[in-house]
Amino acid sequence: VTDPEVPPAVIEPLRSDHDVEGFRNRESSIEEFLRHRAWRNDQQNLSRSYVCRSAEVPPPPILGYHSIAMGRIALTDLPKEIQPLELDLKHLPVAILARIGRHEVAPKQIGDVLMWDVFRRVSEAANRIGCVGILLHAINRPKLIDWYKGWDFVTVGHVAKEPEERQAMFLELSLIKKALELPPE
């Protein structure tokens, strides 16, 4: 930390002593996953969760978090025009962005910080074990889907119409890497 007057904030792997009980989000699936499932998933190697927290207020409140896991997209009945690409197109490995959310009183920019962190971690994972992009299943709220589109995610598959449905969205790895390499503004 270069400026002692400014409290530091960190993004770090979820620990058992993080204040998950104090995390609040309007979506119960976001809130409850962190409070009840994320740590257990970590212990069982099912997903990894990372929290953004302030270091200044004891106990450090969680400002936001994301959880990522490995998954795949199965492709069938591909049209003939795709075949000449000569890729192994039956199953594509992807990173699944299982959850991302900020505390209900945290500034919305925390979400942007978290998504950059997702980009960086997925890019590093892809360098080591390979994956073609990020897949997520968005809560079907127009503002939320627009926020993902602002990150260049593209809707794929069934178009969600009902509020309880999830909208699948995808972002390819090549674009993630280009974004990470953009010069700072």
């Binding site: 400026d3 199965a74 998504m115 593209v154």
Partner: protein, 77 residues
């Protein structure tokens, strides 16, 4: 991993102060054994036909980051 200066400033001026005065409250615990969406990592995806082709085209595309994505650069650590 430190967040950028603008975000740290935001945290100081907005979030931390808000959290200091946030009332504490409890919620009903989830009943044991009940299944809900919070308990699951979203499933994988299966695509067919033209939807499957869309994914392949995205993977081999040469898309460039949009202006919207570029606008988020100040928050890249």
């Amino acid at each position: 991993l430190l967040v950028s200066q603008p975000i740290r400033r935001l945290i100081e001026t907005e979030t931390v102060m808000a959290l200091k005065y946030m009332p504490q409250f409890e919620r009903e615990p989830q009943p044991r054994g009940s299944e809900s969406t919070y308990d699951r990592v979203p499933a994988d995806l299966e695509l067919r036909g033209q939807e499957a082709a869309t994914i392949v085209k995205l993977i081999v595309s040469q898309r460039q980051p949009s202006a919207s994505l570029r606008s988020k650069l100040p928050f890249r650590r």
